[in-house]
Amino acid sequence: MTLKEIKELLQAEVITGEDSLDKEIMFAGGSDLMSDVLAFGKPGILLLTGLSNAQSVRTANIIDAKAIVYVRGKQPDEAGIKLAKEMGIPLLSTKLMMYATCGLLFSHGLPGVSDPS
């Protein structure tokens, strides 16, 4: 599934990375806890989170995440956007809650991080 398809499915706004929407996403994982993302995340993950400070972007960079989708309409702060631009990590924001975001992506065939089949 491409990032563009994900954007349309979640009716998400692209905050940065408009030119990277052709990126292919193979699996996703959702958590507001960066410690969990560091423990269970894998390179290439699409990170779904409600944590909107700069640590979400730093964490995504550390684990080589492909992009971040902020849920519940969260918007990253200026520091986070600046970092994401430097690091080339696309940031999207959807008004959907975490549960609905995961459910929509999963039901359209995007597996979870623990089962990247």
Binding site: S35, V37, N53, I63, M87
Partner: protein, 148 residues
């Protein structure tokens, strides 16, 4: 063991500076990529040093990371000056945490950090003196034998 260093570099970490937290780990990750460390080790080392850096920011007054690379090993040494850890066995248990609300708002402080460092490292040692500080030695083997 060879004494021949490919690289040895020190980085300072300021305690309580949540705005800059993670900057050192981002720099170290870039360096490891540049010098051609295996990508799977880069990820494990980056996760470990990021967790450790966040611990220094959250709990210590200041800290120092020493990154040393030899042909055999990648060694991350973290030394901090701060409150230290009274009971290391307890701190190594997943879920044990003394984090404040501010730390949890950053997405950290869930009691996962030290266990996650241990999980990622090939060798991990922790020593601490309460009231003085904590030292971590996080080691990754760069040759195949001994590698996780």
């Amino acid at each position: 063991m060879s004494d021949e260093y490919v690289l040895s570099q020190k980085f300072k970490i300021k305690g309580g500076d949540f705005g800059k937290a993670g900057r050192t780990s981002t720099s170290i990750k870039e360096i490891l990529k540049e010098i051609g460390i295996d990508p799977s080790i880069v990820i494990r080392a980056s996760i470990s040093v990021y967790e450790a850096e966040m611990n220094v920011v959250m709990y210590a007054k200041k800290g120092m990371v020493t990154l040393s690379v030899t042909p055999e090993e990648l060694h991350l040494k973290l030394e901090d000056e701060g409150q230290g850890i009274a009971d290391i066995d307890q701190a190594m248990k997943e879920g044990f945490s003394t984090a404040t609300h501010e730390m949890r708002e950053m997405g950290f402080g869930a009691g996962m950090g030290l266990p996650n460092i241990k999980k990622n490292a090939d060798r991990f040692e922790i020593t601490s003196i309460p009231g003085k500080g904590t030292t971590l030695d996080i080691i990754f083997c760069l040759n195949k034998t001994g590698n996780k």
